[in-house]
């Protein structure tokens, strides 16, 4: 099978990657430096970027929060799931993947119905006279259009991407290793901290990547749940291409800087983790 002739099979896709992966990224770099613009070659798009430092900081902080929450919820969920009997495990993975078939915009939009001042949660709390505890003034909790709602939207949308890779790694841990450790007198805490957790690290790292990157670059969640008050990097980039401040060169520069920052963050993280073998999502 490792036949030299078979290499030719990769040729069409290598060509494809060159045209549709490498050249487009190259174009982003060119545009960022002013290619095809009135000014010609310029560094101006990069020197402007410091104005948006607040938006960069905002995006990274919110994405970090979302990733941390996903990890705190997703790791135990994956761990508990891996200890179930096979039938439950299989069913549960399907149940976790199933929401992806419901359009994500629609699911996010649905949170609006839940979180609004006149939304379902506030209605329910009012119906059970919950607000009476706070005196007559209070009629609702403000949940929508806050940074918290944006983080919730991120956690909600990307949690499955944390659970599934961790689950698939823990699921593959050889039970005999755990049994051997127990036979050698390790208690359950030791088994977890010395065996299960280190072995599950590749899954954790791949989960973090798969949550953090879409979170930091989202532009729909912040629009729907943030009420246009919390602008994130994704919004900023969208605005330069299809939005209210048309400037594709600046948009390219922002994209490029974001990409570099994200890659740096991921490289840093991977240095701490042992994960050279990427864990599979499915």
């Amino acid at each position: 099978m490792k036949n030299r002739r078979n290499r030719i099979l990769a040729a069409p896709y290598v060509g494809w990657m060159a045209v549709f992966v490498v050249i487009p990224l190259f174009l982003v770099v060119l545009y960022a430096f002013g290619f095809d613009s009135k000014e010609g070659f310029t560094l101006g798009n990069f020197t402007q970027i410091h104005q948006y430092a607040g938006i960069f900081a905002n995006s990274f902080v919110l994405a970090l929060f979302a990733t941390a929450i996903c990890l705190l919820l997703g790791y135990p969920a994956a761990y508990f799931l891996a200890r179930e009997v096979p039938a439950v495990r299989r069913l549960a993975t399907i149940i976790i993947m199933l929401p992806m078939w419901m359009n994500f915009l629609l699911r996010t939009y649905s949170w609006m119905s839940l979180l609004e001042n006149t939304g379902l949660i506030n209605r329910f709390l009012r119906a059970i006279h919950f607000f009476d505890l706070f005196g007559p003034e209070k009629g609702y909790f403000t949940m929508i259009n806050t940074p918290g709602a944006v983080v919730l939207g991120m956690v909600y949308n990307f949690l499955p991407f944390m659970i599934l890779p961790i689950f698939s790694v823990i699921d593959k841990i050889d039970n005999r290793v755990i049994e051997a450790a127990q036979d050698l007198g390790a208690d359950s805490v030791t088994v977890f901290s010395r065996i299960i957790f280190p072995l599950s690290l590749p899954g954790v790292l791949s989960g973090i990547t798969m949550v953090f990157i879409p979170s930091v670059s989202t532009f729909v969640i912040s629009k729907l749940l943030g009420g246009g008050k919390t602008i994130l990097l994704g919004d900023l980039i969208d605005m330069q291409f299809y939005g209210s401040t048309y400037n594709p060169h600046l948009g390219s520069a922002i994209s490029l800087v974001m990409m570099v920052l994200v890659m740096a963050a991921m490289a840093l993280m991977n240095r701490f983790g042992a994960g050279e073998e990427e864990a599979m999502l499915f």
């Binding site: 494809w16 982003v28 078939w101 629609l106 990547t209 990157i213």
Partner: protein, 285 residues
């Protein structure tokens, strides 16, 4: 021990509740008698009726299904070939190819979308201004660019799901088949493909799911004349989403659910049958 298991199950049920709460709300309000998405005004099937006469939504659904099926199919062929090709490469070369292959997966969607948009509009503008003018053809962004973009982000998933199956393959099988007189093509078709089939099918399914759920990349590459369902929902979400979309999503959701149940029941049966056979074989050595 038992108590802890109850605790962990409660935790996981809460997670599921969190994942499904908005979906239940969506489904419930697809049966609502009014447009409101938070006040229940009685049961009605009117949104389902309206859905089937709404040509914009149905057009978008058709575009979405078509682009997802085509992109998944083409990406599966391209990706399976590429996986075999990569697998046959020397280590260094393979590393380079896999790294590039991983780019669309690890890059933020918005960057993939924006970069492809720049490519398409640049290529189209240059073509229309030169060769297109000579031939009297003008290209525009549309279904073709949408399809190209979808294939581009689908192939990496196919490769990643076929590759492990190739690694599990016994390297001698292929040679053995050839020694027995099979041509390279026959050996591939009869021996290799059946072995890696689960990976191929899995890859195709993932690709299809990714296409169906994609919004960001479609948004940047579809141009103005075609809309996918996601794009239609996005333009509605700027104002108010019609409950017709809830109805449509409910229908899609239920059909996928049924499909998965059927597949799983079949798998379960097969496994049971296999277990029985194994047991019989073992008792009659």
């Amino acid at each position: 021990m038992k108590q802890r298991r109850i605790g962990s199950r409660v935790f996981n049920l809460l997670i599921l509740l969190f994942l499904y709460a908005p979906i239940f709300v969506l489904i419930a309000f697809s049966f609502n008698a009014t447009k409101s998405r938070s006040v229940w005004a009685g049961f009605s099937l009117q949104w389902y009726e309206k859905l089937f006469s709404d040509s914009r939504i149905l057009d978008a659904l058709w575009t979405t299904l078509l682009v997802s099926v085509l992109a998944a199919a083409l990406a599966t062929v391209l990706g399976t070939m590429a996986a075999i090709g990569f697998y046959s490469m020397r280590r260094r070369m393979r590393g380079v190819c896999m790294t590039i292959n991983n780019i669309p997966m690890t890059n933020a969607d918005i960057i993939t979308g924006v970069s492809l948009m720049l490519l398409f509009s640049f290529a189209i503008v240059s073509f229309n201004a030169t060769l297109g003018q000579l031939l009297g053809i003008t290209f525009r962004m549309g279904f073709a660019t949408l399809l190209l973009a979808h294939i581009t982000f689908n192939v990496p998933y196919v490769i990643l799901s076929v590759m492990p199956k190739l690694r599990q393959l016994d390297p001698n099988v292929y040679e053995a088949a050839q020694d027995l007189g099979a041509t390279g093509w026959q050996a591939f078709w009869k021996v290799i493909l059946p072995e890696i089939m689960p990976g191929v099918v899995n890859g195709a399914l993932i690709a299809f799911t990714m296409s169906i759920d994609d919004f960001v990349i479609s948004y940047f590459t579809a141009g103005s004349r075609v809309s996918t369902l996601s794009m239609e929902i996005y333009s509605m979400a700027r104002k108010r989403i019609s409950p017709e979309i809830n109805a449509l999503s409910t229908l899609l959701f239920v059909s996928v659910l049924l499909l998965l149940v059927i597949i799983n029941i079949r798998q379960f049966r097969q496994e049971k049958a296999k277990a029985r056979k194994d047991a019989v074989l073992r008792s009659n050595p």
